[in-house]
């Protein structure tokens, strides 16, 4: 484990390039610096990280409600049209033989997005409160949600593929429902939220407190 009092670039007045990792000293007096190697905008920390993350997170949370209440898929067969929400799909798939599939949908489409939102909220609150506890747990949590985020798009892809492929008019056709757009929005917004969160904030509090105490 790295010592909490490991050197921190920001405290030494240095900026790290997010893209190429080059450590550079900001030009004195300049309000905005550019990476001398890759011309990326340089900041000590992502600007307004917490605020932006909160904004994306709240937007995702708002979208999460209709994503689960509105039908994601409308199946029209000769027997009539039928709209299913995600949860209805889970129930529909749940059978003695099909339960693993049902479980996958349940985990990927309902549990992961909500877990992501809750985890990010926890990270934001803990950073805001200057928590110095469980830094490693928190950074691991961040990495997991960053990694897992894109997989939630699987649902959207499956739905859109199905809708595109199953067009056997007039026998059968599948059309995406309004819930699907909200679900995609949730996935995209949570990914943006994760992206705008600066994980360095997690241990800034630790270092600052060390600086204060030391």
């Amino acid at each position: 484990m790295v010592s909490p009092s490991a050197p921190i670039a920001m405290l030494r007045g240095l900026q790290t390039c997010d893209t190429c990792g080059l450590l550079s000293r900001p030009a004195p007096g300049a309000s905005e610096g550019r990476c001398p190697r890759c011309d990326e905008v340089l900041e000590f920390r992502k600007p307004d990280s917490i605020q932006r993350t909160w904004a994306f997170l709240i937007a995702a949370a708002v979208c999460y409600i209709p994503a689960n209440l509105l039908p994601v898929l409308t199946t029209a067969t000769a027997a009539g049209a039928e709209s299913d929400t995600i949860m209805q799909g889970v129930v529909l798939l749940w059978s003695p033989t099909g339960w693993p599939l049902s479980l996958i949908v349940l985990v990927a489409s309902i549990m992961i997005p909500s877990a992501k939102i809750l985890a990010l909220a926890y990270l934001l609150i803990s950073v805001r409160r200057g928590s110095v506890e469980n830094n490693r747990q928190r950074i691991r949590m961040y990495r997991i949600i960053e990694f897992i985020g894109r997989w939630s798009m699987v649902d959207v892809f499956v739905d859109t593929f199905t809708a595109a492929l199953i067009q056997l008019q007039p026998l059968m056709s599948v059309e995406p429902g309004p819930g699907l757009f909200f679900f995609a929005a949730v996935v995209v917004l949570t990914m943006l939220a994760v992206e705008s969160f600066d994980p360095r904030l997690i241990w800034d509090a630790t270092n600052l407190s060390e600086v204060a105490h030391g």
């Binding site: 605020q51 932006r52 904004a55 994306f56 937007a59 009539g80």
Partner: protein, 536 residues
């Protein structure tokens, strides 16, 4: 931008404003937009939810919560959301989520029913539901009073939607093969259906609700006759065999036909729900309404086998009434048994015209005079065989000049008209007569006489035999005579030779005479002078 490192002079330094930590980032528009969209969707969703209704069914067979649609003219206007049993477990209550803006559909007289595949004689409906499953059909009422709780009909109504047309009511004592959905024919064109039927409270007749589609409903006038055109109307009666059909469909499933008599066609169309009588057949439907038929009684002293109520009464082949009852009665005073036949005579109804009937005349008195006169002239009732095939008989009035004279007793109720034995009866009587006469023949005496005659004949024949032998002898002598004659005329006999020579002599003499005659012709003077000049 001015370089802060090289100030041009003693300039006041700008007040450093600490960077606002809590400046509102533009990024907050994202959750605001998300929230707005969410609210909009929620509002739209709530707005898109129509009223909730409950429908009570006898059975939820084929119904499924969340799937079964409420369908009006092929458009889904709602979905069953829940199905449960009533408290007493006797019926099923379904909750349905209606589409938005269906409030005006849900009024007091809106009717709902389950559409399932139904195959009856008249029609096949709801075949689509074999695949799609049952749905709930709706007929929208005209009422303005809203309603949210409905009781589904057990059977789908035959006439749905706002098909223009009119309902009429038919009364019939016998339903026959009629059913809801049975077609109505006008000139063999199907123009309507029976929408419902019900047995009257007294159990004596049926009330049928029939629907006639526009524009055919205007052909129903107050004078229109309806009759059962069920299947094949096969009638075996004294009039013979008659077959009446409407169409192949009605042969299979029955039907009702209607027609307006020519004299009623100018009348205005009948009001909706006018009550009509449903007749058994077309003939009955078009019989003019009975105008106080006259009841008479006939007493036949013979078998009335084959005479049934309804059998025609004819006067010289013209129908004038029908038999209403055939009964047997015993006169307890005289202990006589007779068969009075009650008949209804309504000549006017059956097309007999009364010519020169003065207005205001006493019709009853005239009728009496007519009957008296007819009876006086020998009009009698007689049973006649109408059809040899069926043995059905009818009552015929005809003139029988030889009938014993009689008069009518108008004080009787009903008046008894005189009868005469039927044709069959008369024939029988004649045959019996002949047989009786045959019976009376003295066959034994005739036989005895025949015997003696035959004996006489025998002796006669013997005498004849002897006569014949004499005759044979006579014939033999006759033959001898003829042979003699033969000899006389034989070619080589002496007589014939002599005859021949004599004849040649005569011939020669004749020739000499001719020569002489020729000479004299040329020389007539030779008679005076003799042969001269011409020497030989």
């Amino acid at each position: 931008m001015v370089d802060p490192q090289t100030p041009p002079g003693p300039m006041p330094e700008s007040r450093a404003v600490p960077k606002k930590q809590t400046r509102l980032s533009l990024v907050w528009t994202i959750p605001i937009i998300a929230a707005l969209v969410g609210v909009w969707v929620a509002v739209a969703r709530i707005r898109s939810e129509g009223p909730k209704i409950t429908i009570v069914f006898q059975s939820a067979e084929g119904l499924e919560a969340g799937k079964t649609k409420i369908n009006y003219r092929g458009v889904d206007i709602g979905t069953l959301s829940a199905i449960r049993l009533t408290e007493d477990h006797q019926r099923v209550v379904a909750t349905a989520q209606m589409a938005p803006r269906t409030e005006d559909f849900l009024v007091e007289d809106t009717r709902m029913w389950v559409v399932r595949p139904r195959i009856s004689g008249a029609n096949v409906t709801g075949l689509g539901t074999l695949i799609s499953g049952a749905y709930i059909g709706v007929e929208i009422g005209n009422s303005k009073k809203p309603r949210r709780e409905f009781v589904a009909l057990d059977t789908p109504p035959i006439i749905t939607g706002n098909v223009p047309g009119r309902f009429f009511i038919l009364k019939t004592p016998d339903l026959g093969s009629l059913d809801t959905g049975t077609p109505l024919f006008f000139r063999r064109l199907q123009v309507g259906r029976i929408s419902s039927y019900a047995l009257d409270k007294d159990g004596q007749s049926f009330t049928l609700d029939v629907f006639v589609r526009a524009p055919y409903d205007r052909f129903v006038t107050p004078n229109t006759r309806f009759w059962q055109a069920s299947g094949v109307d096969l009638q075996l009666s004294a009039n013979g065999l008659s077959v009446q059909t409407q169409s192949l469909l009605s042969i299979l499933i029955g039907g009702i036909a209607f027609e307006t008599p020519p004299d009623g066609q100018s009348l205005p169309a009948a009001e909706a729900n006018t009550v009509f009588t449903l007749y058994d057949n077309r003939a009955k439907a078009f019989e003019p309404a009975a105008r106080s038929p006259q009841t008479f009684e006939l007493i036949f002293n013979e078998s009335v086998r084959g005479l049934a109520p309804g059998a025609p009464v004819e006067f010289r082949g013209v129908p004038i009434g029908e038999v209403s009852a055939v009964r047997a009665q015993v006169d307890l005073k005289t202990l006589k048994f007779s068969v009075p036949v009650t008949i209804h005579l309504d000549a006017q109804r059956l097309g007999v015209r009364f010519v020169d009937l003065g207005t205001g005349a006493d019709f009853g008195a005239m009728r009496r005079r007519l009957f008296d006169s007819m009876v006086a002239h020998g009009v009698r009732a007689q049973l006649r065989t109408g059809s040899l095939l069926t043995g059905a008989v009818f009552v015929a009035f005809d003139y029988f000049p030889n009938a014993p004279p009689t008069t009518l007793d108008w004080s009787q109720r009903p008046v008894r008209l005189p009868t005469t034995p039927g044709q069959l009866e008369a024939t029988e009587a004649k045959l019996t007569n002949i047989i009786d006469k045959l019976d009376k023949l003295p066959l034994e005496q005739i036989g005895n006489r025949l015997n003696t005659t035959i004996a006489d004949l025998d002796t006669t024949v013997r005498t004849a035999n002897t006569t014949l032998s004499t005759a044979t002898r006579t014939l033999a002598s006759a033959r001898g005579t003829i042979e003699n004659a033969n000899n006389f005329v034989e070619p080589n006999s002496v007589q014939s030779q002599r005859l021949e020579s004599t004849l040649s002599e005569v011939s020669r003499a004749a020739r000499s005479m001719r020569v002489l005659a020729d000479f004299l012709e040329r020389h007539p003077e030779a008679l005076l002078r003799g042969k001269t000049g011409e020497a030989k």
